[in-house]
């Protein structure tokens, strides 16, 4: 028993030593949302927001509902620009509070459904991105899905067109499903 205690003490000491030498500031670990953030950023190369986009100083990404995507988006915003503009990230709990933005990301944790968000924002030049089953059929422009353990996306170009967005054919080619419901 005495020897076991000694080994446990040595084990804890070794752990303390290693932790002390390698501890780094906390960062996000949600790999899925890191990827989603990168996708959101990459989408900006393939979307034309029309003339309304030129009227705003910043490129705003709104996140509806608490989501692991916020932190990696902030990291991207620190180092990247979208459409030549500074990227600003805003989090909202309620769709009624969402202000001007270029992208609206509807978190899967959001309590309000996609239809409500689309009915509020669908006629504005805002790219609506979701992560729920059937979201494109409900009017979202892009919907993230996991397929073969990889992050893929579906698209609804008709709904995007109603919002006044032009989507590059290159982006459409990458979508695994294209839904055309207004």
């Amino acid at each position: 028993m005495k020897r076991m205690k000694k080994h446990i003490i040595l084990f804890v000491a070794a752990i303390t030593l290693v932790v002390g030498s390698a501890f780094m500031p906390a960062q996000s670990n949600t790999e899925e949302y890191i990827l989603k953030a990168a996708f959101l950023y990459r989408f900006t190369d393939y979307i034309d927001w029309g003339s309304s986009s030129g009227q705003t100083e910043d490129f705003t990404i709104a996140v509806l509902g608490r989501s692991g995507i916020t932190d990696p988006l902030i990291e991207i915003a620190k180092e990247k620009k979208a459409q030549g503009k500074r990227i600003v990230i805003k989090e909202y709990d309620n769709i009624n509070d969402v202000g001007d933005c270029q992208i609206l990301f509807i978190s899967g944790n959001n309590k309000q459904d996609v239809e409500t968000a689309v009915s509020k924002m669908g006629d504005k030049p805002i790219l609506i991105v979701a992560e729920q089953t059937d979201a494109c059929a409900k009017g979202a422009h892009i919907n993230f899905v996991i397929s073969d353990n990889k992050l893929k996306f579906e698209m609804n170009p008709s709904a995007a067109a109603i919002s006044g967005l032009k989507i590059s054919s290159q982006l459409l080619q990458h979508a695994i499903v294209v839904v055309n419901t207004p």
Partner: protein, 692 residues
Amino acid sequence: MVQAQDTSKEAVAFADLSLDKLMDVQVQHVVTSTGYLQTTDEAPSTITVITAQQIADRGYEQLEDALRDVPGIDMIHVNGYAPTLIYFRGMYGAENLRALLMIDGMVENNILGTNDLAGPAYSLHNVLRIEIIWGPASALYGANAFGGVINIITKKGADINGVHAEAGAGTFNTTFEKLSFGLKKSNIEYSLAANLYNTDGPVFANRDPQYHASFVDKAYGINGALSYYTKSTKTTIGYRVYRTPSGWGTYANSPTVYLGLPPQGNNNSGQVGILTRDLDGQKPGLNDSYLRTVFVQEEFKVNEKLNLMARGIYRETGTADDSYAYITLDGKKLIKDIVASYSNRAQAELSANYSLSEHHKFSAGVEFYQDNVEQGARGITVDTSTYYVYNGKDTVTNVNTSFLPRQYDIRNNFGSYLQYVLNVKFLGKTSVTLGARDDYNSYFGNAISPRAVIVNQPNDQFTFKLQFGQAFRAPTNLEIHQSYAGDSLKTEKITTYEVNAIYTPIKQVKVQLNLFHNYLTDIIVLSNLTGFNPNKNPGRITVDGLEGSVDLSVSKTFSGFFNVTWQDAEGENLITNVNRSVSAIAKIKGNAGITAHLPDDLLSISILGNYVGERPSPMTDPNGPVAGYFLTNCTINTGKILHSGVSAGFEIRNVFNTTWYDPGFRTADGLVFSTLLEQPGRTFIIKASIDL
């Protein structure tokens, strides 16, 4: 293929990737629990996932290395045949038969029911992740998804994306070589992984200074797959084989009386046993187990709502006919025994997942298999009246023994299941999973396995699960033919109730509590020995348990875990009315570990600790309970040296050279089966790898 990393800063790196590259990044989800992709929190089961990164960082070479650090598992290391007996959540007995081992969703357990489960042939170098589902899962998987399901998900062509080669060496003349290559190009994806393992194994000098029974001689695994993609289909053909020629280890006592040695100690008599040293230039014994699988699989995405999968599988498992042992019963002469078995299974299955909407999801499937299974171990001719003397000292009989013709049974099994998942926005997010599977088997008849699970996520921080499930374990043909003539064995049954609470106060910390109650009935009767031995006697086992775990994923450079398990496993013999604690199950055990990556990924260090408390031994064991132990393991890996594809690793196991034992199993009375199983001291592995 680019592996997703765990920091927000990685988002910046990923943001620079093209869409093509982004769409090729692997995302961590699990499928084993429902057939749908879900996070472990959402899944209607208790799930542990071990990732490829953790396998690499922590130096896991074989399945048992990875299982060592998760809560709820007890092990007995035989260091030879078996090779390790693994007990899920207090379910001692029925050695390695109460957990379903799957590779890419296909059952890998031996068809006959011998207790080989994974081992050195099952290298983890081509494993993408290991999913462990706790508790009964027969509602989806049928027979033997009893204590848990271990699903090994292998790397496919896109995951490997090139060539990986690895070689290593270690204590006991251990050597291993591993190779994997794969690619996905256009509509074609292919992968091939192979590994070779050799070791002389530890020497347990108290059993025999010339001990040589824990060797592994050219164990190998080969796993290949070729897939063809269209827009809505994926067709895969695959082949895998695992072969493990090994010594008998400490499966039985060392015959110290025959060898003229002092007793091996710990109340072991040494009169009966299996030879542990070479005989006339031949190894002391060999158990040469093999498992082969060939399959063809078609996945068809009909539309966004409906996915179909059809699969045909043909498997062969057995013990090759070069297997043998030298046994002594009287301590005066050796009897040569030869061992073999061969069984095969042809299986066809069809399954469907249908998402009516985000609120309603259905899974259904049908499966048929036919086993051509040997009637236990193959019969042999016996001649113990002719004596041969080797080297003037070893007296051996039955030298010219040969196999009798193979006797077999045909067993048919038809299974069908249906599962429904309701997702509603009630008290946050709530899902209700209801499912049942019916199996009809030509031997044991009908078995129905229901499950019901409620998962509630009131907010991002909390998840609560309430689980109920029943499962069964089918009698193996070994058990059927070892039982008394005319016995018709029933299935073993388990009922489990479980409550889980998962708390994620911040994204870097996850705290989980699992409270479970297992009730096992109809434990298979083979004989009625004195005392309570759950693998040999009729009985019931009741297990109550509490598992707590904390997982930290602080940054790319630092992660850690801590888990503790409390289990109270009580057994009851319905013939002798004896009630006692179940053997080999520690009331308290725990694991902790950290992994730190030095800046620029020059080096990573993992330190892991395993505590196992005192364990009861079988009632027939004169030695009584086995003392607890604490082991420390350390793994150091380099990053890619000088930006080449070359990296190196160094592992020390049992850093403090602790003396530790596992309890004996079966009767463990010191006559045939040992009272205590000795374990190795400090060992080393050094390895190098290259990625091209």
